[in-house]
């Protein structure tokens, strides 16, 4: 695979927390134009991988190449402004603001708007984008509600909306449907699939049914290492993967 076709290319990435090696010298290529999923039992290092990629945790060693640049050593906000957004496993938004203002501030951050004088509500182009994102994610029904009073599923949805405000070219979703009701799950999964048509997505998800239904390529991690990468069929038929899942499960997280 050449640099042209990869959305994200990880080389020799390692993270040690004291004596524990959470991510162990990993090499992964995530191809462009498809929906990638990362699976693995608890403690496999999936979230740590995302944290390393997005600069939230400093790497011990290794490189993370995104559009020809190494992301390692950069601050989270720099990485985000390069077009790589993520959602968090534990959902959280700006609880003291309305849903609309949550999205507005994300749009401002993306556009680099930080005037100390002009009224925030007076930016027409930004307002249009906010409206658009609200409609797009189905949050328009809650636009003026306080984000602190949302249901968990709506918070998860708002997180995705915040990530989208950044117009990301690569989107990392960490358990996006965790805590959602069945109907919310269905709608969110639909949205993710639709989103994947225009944006590269890497998804961490525990719901295997969802992963195998929508992912084009599945990356399996176990104990901080890359176990295998393949299509859903290949992964389903792999004995190593079955062993990891059905063998002695290790709950390290």
């Amino acid at each position: 695979m050449t640099g042209m076709d990869t959305a994200l290319s990880i080389k020799g990435l390692t993270k040690r927390f004291g004596g524990l090696t959470a991510v162990d010298n990993i090499d992964i290529q995530f191809p462009k134009g498809i929906l990638n999923a990362v699976i693995g039992p608890n403690g496999a290092g999936k979230t740590t991988l995302f944290n390393l990629v997005t600069g939230m945790v400093p790497a011990t060693s290794g490189r993370v190449m995104f559009e020809g640049n190494d992301l390692i050593g950069r601050a989270p906000h720099e990485i985000v402004s390069r077009g790589l957004s993520r959602t968090l496993q534990i959902k959280s938004v700006f609880g003291g603001m309305s849903v609309m203002d949550n999205i507005r501030i994300a749009v401002f951050a993306h556009e680099g708007i930080s005037s100390p004088f002009r009224p925030a509500r007076g930016y027409r182009a930004a307002n249009d984008r906010v409206e658009h994102i609200l409609e797009d994610t189905g949050l328009d029904r809650l636009a003026s509600s306080s984000a602190g009073a949302l249901s968990y599923g709506d918070v998860a949805l708002l997180e995705i909306a915040l990530a989208l405000a950044n117009k990301p070219r690569l989107l990392l979703l960490d358990e996006p449907i965790c805590g959602m009701s069945p109907s919310e799950t269905e709608r969110t999964v639909e949205r993710i699939v639709r989103l994947a048509e225009t944006t590269d997505i890497i998804l961490i998800e525990h719901d295997m049914e969802v992963v195998f239904a929508i992912a084009d390529l599945i990356t399996v991690m176990a104990q901080g290492q890359l176990l295998m990468q393949g299509t859903p069929n290949e992964v389903a038929g792999d004995s190593g993967v079955q062993e990891v899942y059905l063998g002695t499960p290790e709950d390290m997280e």
Binding site: G96, R104, I105, S145
Partner: protein
């Protein structure tokens, strides 16, 4: 929307009332109070600087007296040592305070929470002791007296005219609060709130949290500096004792009693406590006991301050309606 409009009506009423104060007081023959109000306005800037950091960015500074002190000494030294006119000295004071805040802030905002509160006190204590020992420059505890140059020579405006002095202070403070109102409603103000609400999420939408905090710190230092510069001109005096941490602490108290995270909260808190002092100190020597008790009671029973009580009253109805609507919607969603 009605709540919003009511709030701005309140702000306008306060501004108009303060603007008319000299006329009214002159009419009722109580021009003594004009200096009390002037003092309230000056100190409210210090409280506002606390509010900007705590209420909008979520950082509790216990060292704002430092920037107040730099503003104060900038003016005093500018006039008494360099022989500057009033306006150059005024801007020298503000520049000194802002520059100090820029330097101290670059270090302080690397820390958060308790650590931030502590390092801000430490900075202010260091310069307090420096100012106390550098008696030849600062006058130490005794302070530095000077006579104020004219505000506008041609027009014959002098600060010794209490009405002129009041309007000078009033207009400067009005400008500061107007600036803050714009700031709060601006995209930068939203950034502040985002950093306060959820630092991690803020960085994940591309906000440089450190830089945002630093900007807030510098603006807050500027506000405190304007307060200090005004205070020096008002008293024709500067003293190291105003840089002690107790002064910073009082500003925190004023801001919280008035209401954190609201534009006029600091002004209301400052006014309340200074008026309380003026009224009770004549009657009871140990009135500070009452002040302490009052402060504790406000924090216990109105944690969002005096202004918080009012906005709860005003917003209460609107919010209850909105909440009911949201609940209904959620119910409909679930079915």
């Amino acid at each position: 929307m009605t709540a919003q409009r009511l709030k701005w009506l309140g702000v306008a009423a306060v501004a108009a009332g303060l603007g008319l104060a000299p006329v009214l007081l002159k009419f009722f023959g109580g021009l003594f109070w004009i200096n009390v109000i002037a003092e309230i306005l000056i100190w409210s800037l210090l409280a506002a600087s606390v509010n900007l950091l705590l209420g909008y960015v979520g950082l509790l500074s216990f060292g704002q007296a430092l920037y107040f002190g730099f503003g104060m000494y900038g003016v005093a030294i500018g006039i008494s040592q360099f022989g500057l006119g009033l306006w150059p000295a005024f801007f020298l004071g503000i520049a000194a305070a802002t520059a100090m805040a820029a330097v101290a802030g670059a270090i302080a905002v690397r820390l958060t929470w308790h650590y931030f509160a502590i390092i801000t006190v430490v900075f202010s204590l260091i310069f307090y002791f420096v100012a106390m020992s550098a008696k030849s420059i600062t006058g130490g505890d005794d302070g530095l007296s000077f006579s104020a140059p004219p505000l506008w020579k041609a027009a014959g405006w002098l600060l010794t005219d209490r009405t002129v002095q009041y309007y000078f202070i009033y207009l400067v403070c009005a400008a500061c609060f107007t600036g803050m109102a714009f700031l709060i409603a601006s995209p930068l103000g939203m950034r502040f709130n985002a950093v306060r609400d959820n630092e991690q999420r803020a960085s994940l939408i591309g906000i440089n949290v450190y830089y945002t905090r630093w900007i807030a710190f510098v603006i807050s230092g500027l506000l405190a500096g304007v307060g200090g510069a005004l205070f020096a001109l008002f008293g024709r005096y500067a003293s190291a004792s105003y840089m002690f941490y107790h002064v910073s602490g009082e500003a925190v108290v004023w801001a919280i009693v008035g209401g954190i995270g609201s534009l006029l909260g600091p002004l209301v808190g400052t006014a309340l406590l200074i008026l309380f002092r003026e009224l009770v100190s004549g009657l009871w020597e140990n009135y500070l006991i009452a002040v302490g008790a009052f402060v504790i009671l406000v924090v216990m029973f109105a944690p969002r301050g005096i202004v918080g009580i009012f906005s709860d009253l005003v917003e209460g109805r609107d919010r209850r309606k909105a909440d009911a609507r949201a609940a209904l919607r959620n119910l409909a969603e679930a079915e």
